[in-house]
Amino acid sequence: MQAKKGINRRGLLTAGLAMGGAALSARAASAGGDPAILEVQDWNRYLGDGVQARPYGTPSQFEAHVVRRDVEWLTASTESSVNFTPLHDLDGIITPNGLCFERHHAGIAEIDPAQHRLMINGLVEKPLVFTMQDLMRFPRVNRVYFLECAANSGMEWRGSQLNGCQYTHGMVHCVMYTGVPLKTVLEEAGLKTNARWVLPEGADAAMMTRSVPIEKALDDCLIAFKMNGEALRPEQGYPLRLVVPGWEGNMWVKWLRRIEVGDQPWQQREETSKYTDLLANGTARRFTWLMEVKSVITSPSPQLPVAHGKGPLVISGLAWSGNGTIKRVDVTTDGGRNWKTARLDGPSLPKALHRFYLDIDWDGSELLIQSRAMDEHGFVQPTKDELRLARGENSIYHNNGIQTWHVKADGTVENVEVA
């Protein structure tokens, strides 16, 4: 029940204090020493499970709190809804498959791959139908990309609202895809000279469609069937999804069954009534595909308070840009008055998540921590106020503003805005 509803704040604090208590006892054990050392533990005496007890491995029972969570009031039904990646509990740049956030418009289609087909039609020399087996015979590639929902951080346009980076920033994930370049499959059908757009379409009950310009389709889009080495999860589009690197997640059509080639955009529901950005003057931007430079501190954050008191503190977070690689991330502990350049660690791949760290010696005083990313083309993550000045507060989508966490003296953390 707790996992479904989300962990409450009191529960989080208890968990945090329990961890802190364990850490303290390890450091300052009384008479004789630490029972964790002095006493023989069950796992130190008895045999554990054998090799086939867990044919598909799952996380330790002590990691049961690391789950996707949703916000029930956000949407009318769970079948057309979203849940969030627990960014605060993760490290590195790769998101485990079972923790990648979900966004469906008609629930999770459960598709038998033997019954799945991909059709290419429209402005092509010959309309084609492929089985999954056919697709596996094209030359394939491996690429690591982030996928961010255009509405990630969308609930924060009018001010700080949700207390946790899982909720404020958790509509992003990053995995390695294996698939066939879309270009290869389009060329197999033969593009006519007036081909300007493609329309990928899903096989689910929403039949998701988006118009994608042909330049992007021929640039770096993939038709993917694996994520992190294994088959796509059903909730991520099994058996086939489109990968549209650096562009908004809605375009990465899941359960991909058809790609039409045309000479004009189709003006589908998800690119007119939705995924258009209403500005303060009543006009709206459309075809706002690119996900801009962005970052967030994942630890400490409201769901992951500082439980160890003053001393060494690892501030860590994620940065990404649809433009390419992240060049630099700066971190402030005083609300943006003074900044230090953080350390990027791990692979730096274009259009993928980047991991950063700032290792500090915390004196136990209150902190206002923020991160600010800069990408390889020099785009710098703006403040929320700069975005509001340019766009108003009704855009819903594309909020890449700088996030502030207030770390209090007791180690608890709160989502705030500063000026």
Partner: protein
């Protein structure tokens, strides 16, 4: 060449090459090459070179290719009136969208909201926001009713679309009949208010300044807003106080 000039140059090249004002990615400097080798397996190839897949039959294409464009391309033969649509709407749609398209719960509002787009809480309906009528027909045909898609006839969808035009005061006659013949003549009020993506020209990007590293504010920074005040965090003890504001779609 300054970065902003490069940006302008990149924009110009992009617009000229693609005849559509967008960027594949923000490009202030040369685009980095993809890290992996583009080798022989990925060189451009002739249609059918791999010999994979088979030709789709016309019946197969017709079964799946049901999309409709604003110019009416893709519309099936058929017709339906406002009055017919009213009856169908009450049976099939009102449980979620309300008797007059006003929406039930958090399900989408389909009518009303005219002149609300600059309000603090805009209502983005077919009449107030959607640019094209074709999207209404297309979306009902592919995804509605929610949970029972592909159960309506082409005539029924014309009737429902006609009723939605009536609810939004685009047509005022209950006897109005929408058909393939008159469909593309109808324009929605907000069609002209959509603009291309010009985010890269916003002041915070256009300035293209090296970010400030020290003494960036004259005074110490103060907290001006707490999440706690608007506490809508799921699972928090005051959940009962009601839903927060916002939407993901």
């Amino acid at each position: 060449m300054s970065k902003s000039l490069k940006l302008a140059a990149a924009l110009a090249v992009t617009v000229a090459a693609f005849a559509a004002p967008f960027l594949l990615a923000g490009q202030r400097t040369a685009v980095a090459e993809e890290p992996a080798a583009a080798g022989a397996p990925f060189a451009p190839h002739q249609p059918g070179a791999f010999g994979l897949g088979r030709e789709a039959t016309p019946e197969e294409v017709a079964a799946w290719d049901i999309d409709i464009r604003p110019d009416g391309t893709g519309l099936p033969e058929g017709r339906g009136t406002v009055a017919e649509g009213d009856e169908l709407f009450q049976e099939q749609c009102a449980v979620c969208h309300g008797v007059f398209g006003e929406g039930a719960g958090r399900y989408p509002v389909l009518a009303g909201g005219l002149d609300s787009l600059t309000n603090e809480r805009p209502e983005k309906t077919i009449g107030s926001y959607w640019p094209y009528l074709s999207t209404v027909y297309d979306y009902i045909r592919r995804a509605m009713p929610f949970g029972n898609a592909h159960s309506l006839s082409d005539d029924q969808i014309y009737a429902l679309t006609a009723y939605l035009l009536y609810l939004n005061d685009v047509v005022t006659d209950e006897e109005f009949e929408l058909s393939k013949a008159n469909f593309a003549d109808i324009h929605l009020p907000n069609e002209g208010n959509f603009i291309p993506d010009d985010r890269q020209e916003e002041a915070h990007y256009a300035a293209d300044a090296e970010p400030c590293m020290s003494a960036c504010t004259p005074e110490p920074v103060k907290i001006v807003m707490h999440a706690r005040i608007l506490d809508v965090t799921p699972g928090s003890i005051d959940d009962e106080e009601g839903a927060g504001a916002g939407s993901v779609d």
